[in-house]
Symmetry: C2
Subunit: 369 residues, 2 copies
């Protein structure tokens, strides 16, 4: 590998193992795995999922749905409140694939019922505790109104209730994550019980990477939608979703300056390469990545006494002990495990596998339609 | 304008005025303006600078230097510690344009002296107080070694000393910024005095947007290199570099969900659109953008009682007073002034001018070489 600029490495074997583990857990729990593809946004990584007979996927935008539709996927859930300004694109896409949309407000359902020219499957998003967006599970008046309107529409097919427990990302204890997950399952069951007479086939869908990684049994819902697990990252390791050895992506960054007076190493690799997500450790310190030793076919576990301490637009500042500082020279490549793999992949716009293969990312692709 | 997804608007007139003001200040101070193009990274915005007879520019990577070289620029400073792994690209580029590189360590100068096949102008970066990277101004032994090596090389032409006062970004008082700037000028003068016998033509270059915007007189150096001023942003307004009315870029984001119970508005527009830089206000609160009213040909000053309070990957969460909340409905476009325009432009990969023109950003362009 002739790497000269910041490059996102991808260990295909690790990603495969991560996929396989989640596929087996879903099968053992009797739930469908509808993986979220926003983490990798790569046609080729998508193909790896097909080898495990995955045929339904989750994305986060109409553009991303187009991208994967063009690569042969035809059961696609856009897990984001439907953007009614994109009605034209929604109609085009719904004419080609089995399209699932999400609604949070009555106004959205009204606009869809009016503007759709193609049948679409619709999910109502429930706020089971994350409080970012979603309908509160006890908001029966709103739910009744939305579901009555969906029932009357010949374009909207009610698929079920969906939630995203993003609040698991703040936790690091298994029992806290279990409590969040079980609460959500309980709340979704109450909704199913309330509406199953009107919609006998309604489904329940959930899935954040921490719950799906940490809990052994995911039964009780019909579908899970984790995404980050394909790569994992330092955030997930901190939560307890994975081990360092499971992290399937790693940045390789040139060393461009050395500061022996303060044992700091300057990398070519800043917020335009990593994004700006950071991780606060137990001692209160904040890091933007952990340093690993790069090898021919991958990388080591994180090294002690050296970490990516801050980022500006193109600079990464690595702080090291005197001993670790002494191991690096100008022109070396340093390996860095990212804090948030989804965002790092999005700004890097492509991957280089440890086998030397270039893989695309949707962000590196031009106009799609 | 038929905007349906998150879009970065650019007010050409504001950007023009920002450029003109800096051009005039540089002329009145008797210094060369070598604007940093990493903020806009756009061939077309670059053309606007040509109308003011700007012919020398600053960039932050070899790739960016290629991009602007292809668009006719031929005096280009890569203001980043030279990455010796890119020697091949450096040699190719140095054969086409008047290329300026930066060094911080003797090892870099040694590698350049050995690897260069074309003449290159070299600057030594001085750390005048920011402490990100650079040679300490009193490190005479290192400076002597580096300059003796440069003097002996027939490929390296010593151009002068360069600094970047990034620590002005932490300040909000004019006198603090003046103190930082004057200290840097003083330190650069000491260096010039020490080395002018050996290098009679050596130049001094500095330039961060806060100093260059806030201080009236920039004389005392030969060259200034501000970049952000072309667009400005909330960070610069907070520092005091500009007024809200000077901010030349604004995101337009669809409203996709409403939460009347807590007066929160969900936007299609998250960290993959804004990047993740935030701004801490005097009251300790953290914001990711300020809301403006969009009009046909631009936008208003920031509105009171409504702001972008948090971001996840694709969601923006706007917090509002009940009164302001009531003004928005699903399917509206909301205008948001960004916290850090350089990073927002980098992830958005293009612009739509308020006149309806699409402008490119280097991040939206494929392979260059």
């Amino acid at each position: 590998m002739n790497i000269t600029t910041p490059t996102l490495l991808l260990d295909k074997k690790k990603a495969f193992n991560n996929i396989q583990r989640m596929v087996e857990k879903a099968r053992n729990s009797g739930v469908r795995l509808r993986p979220h593809f926003k983490t990798h946004q790569s046609a080729q990584v998508g193909e790896w999922f097909r080898e495990f007979n995955i045929d339904s996927i989750t994305v986060s935008s109409i553009r991303m749905a187009w991208y994967f539709a063009r690569h042969g996927w035809n059961d696609i859930l856009v897990a984001f409140p439907a953007n009614i300004l994109e009605m034209e694109g929604i109609n085009l896409l719904a004419g080609k694939v089995n399209l699932h949309l999400v609604a949070v407000n009555l106004e959205t359902v009204e606009a869809l019922a009016k503007g759709l020219e193609q049948p679409v499957r619709i999910w109502l998003k429930i706020d089971t505790g994350y409080h970012r967006t979603g309908i509160l599970p006890h908001a029966h008046i709103e739910l009744d109104e939305m579901l009555n309107l969906i029932h009357k529409s010949d374009r909207l097919h009610f698929e079920g209730f969906l939630t995203h427990d993003g609040h698991t990302y703040k936790e690091t204890e298994v029992e806290a994550i279990r409590s969040i997950h079980n609460t959500s399952v309980y709340l979704l069951h109450l909704l199913r019980d309330r509406y199953k007479a009107q919609f006998p086939d309604l489904k329940l869908s959930m899935g954040d990477t921490p719950s799906c990684s940490i809990l052994e049994d995911l039964s009780g819902v019909d579908e899970i939608r984790p995404g980050n697990f394909v790569f994992y990252d330092l955030t997930q390791e901190h939560i307890g979703s994975c081990n360092y050895a499971d992290i399937a992506v790693c940045m390789a960054c040139p060393v461009v300056a050395l500061h022996p007076d303060r044992h700091e190493i300057i990398l070519y690799g800043g917020s335009v390469h990593f994004s700006k997500d950071s991780l606060q450790l137990a001692d209160g310190s904040v890091i933007f990545g952990r340093v690993v030793a790069l090898a021919d076919n991958g990388w080591s576990e994180p090294l002690e006494g050296i970490e990516l301490g801050s980022l500006s637009q193109e600079h990464g500042i690595v702080k090291a002990t005197p001993k670790m500082f002494g191991k690096y020279k100008i022109g070396d490549l340093m390996g860095i495990l990212p804090v948030h793999s989804c965002l790092t992949a999005d700004v890097m716009k492509g991957y280089l596998t440890t086998g030397g293969e270039q893989l695309e990312h949707m962000s590196g692709v031009g106009q799609l339609v």
